[in-house]
Symmetry: C2
Subunit: 199 residues, 2 copies
DNA sequence: CGAAATTCCAACTATTCAGTTGCACTCGGA
DNA sequence: TCCGAGTGCAACTGAATAGTTGGAATTTCG
């Protein structure tokens, strides 16, 4: 049978995403990744270099997919709130990805794919300004707020359990949370606009 | 000279907080902690048990200090917003602690000191309800929102750098962020009240 | 004082794990 | 059909690293 090195790489990246998402860079085991992928671990070193470089490759690969998946468009306050809602949904269907982002933030000195992400951030800020008329600085703050609220949810679910005693049906909990976040983002957007109008 | 086992324990907990805050449970090194504390590592095992148990002890010790440091009191919308602001300040002066919380969320199955924290959460929810008149469910959501916004800041500063190109003076950046968070929390509180009034 | 218990440490062990090597197999081109 | 480059793997290596041990110094208490 012919070799399919692209498939091998894909299997490794997928297994890596799963492993690193669960255990992080320091806690993730190269042997386990190779086993999960059904591939010899030497392939990892051949294709991606050392463990940390492989980790970055995994993050970057997941990142590429996510940036394309959710965009900010439309006009008015609800454009930003909608973005928050859709980002929430993405995060819900790809929890592994969001965890990866947190590991990255905690374990890596420098962010992965810095330039690509900076450009993407610029696009988002542009979209938010167009939708709301906010200043650049305010639009930045607003988007950081959205990202924090939405992505923080994954990691802080532990904390959530301390607030709501009965771990009710996951879907119910999620949709309640989604609603509150969208409401918060909308309120924050209006407040920011009002504040900048006052000057 | 006389022995001072309490001091030894304290030194270990402090060194542990520093190490685990930087590298997490999987990445933290027992040898390094012992060296930092200037104590033999065998003491760790004698006093706290295995590495993971020691990690929990570290988190719990930091937690105890933090829960006492910031409380929610007063009346009206600004009581909640003030709480957010003060929690932000605490988090800024104790960044190691907040990072520990994230490591805990990512690396541990169950939260440390669950009962203590649950009680503390209940107190907070009570304070928020008293200040705002919100329902229990809404007060919970609101507080989760505050915690996410404030604590998420530590880990997502990496992401922040992608939004604001010049890494301007840290203090400026922080106070701008603080202001926006307080504004957001205030707006969210008002929105939640308005929403519940409508029914 | 002197025995028992406690604190402390240097050195040790056993294991785990990132990264490597040597070799066999497959492919594409000349 | 032969050669060189690329792919794949089992077994290996060397360095960390969590956890232990035996014994010396110190304290406590009869």
């Amino acid at each position: 049978m012919a070799w399919d090195t692209e498939r091998t790489k894909r299997l490794l990246l997928e297994a890596g995403a799963e492993e690193f998402s669960a255990f992080g860079l320091a806690g993730g085991r190269v042997d386990r990744i190779a086993a999960k992928a059904g591939v010899n671990k030497e392939r990892i070193y051949q294709y991606f270099g050392k463990k940390e470089a492989f980790f970055s490759a995994v993050v970057e690969s997941e990142l590429t997919a996510s940036l394309a998946a959710v965009e900010l468009s439309g006009d008015g306050v609800s454009a930003v709130a909608d973005y928050a809602g859709r980002r929430f949904d993405y995060q819900r269907t790809h929890p592994a990805f969001t965890r990866l982002l947190f590991w990255e933030g905690l374990e890596l000195e420098k962010p992965v794919a810095e330039e690509t992400r900076r450009r993407h951030a610029q696009t988002l800020v542009g979209g938010a300004r167009k939708a709301t008329g906010l200043s650049e600085a305010d639009a930045q703050e607003l988007l950081i707020t959205v990202i924090t609220l939405v992505d923080g949810w994954v990691t802080l679910q532990t904390a959530d359990r301390l607030f709501s005693p009965p771990p009710s049906r996951r879907d119910d909990r999620d949709s309640r949370r989604r609603e509150f976040i969208v409401m918060t983002v909308e309120a924050a957007t209006r407040a920011a606009i009002a504040r900048s109008d006052r000057t």
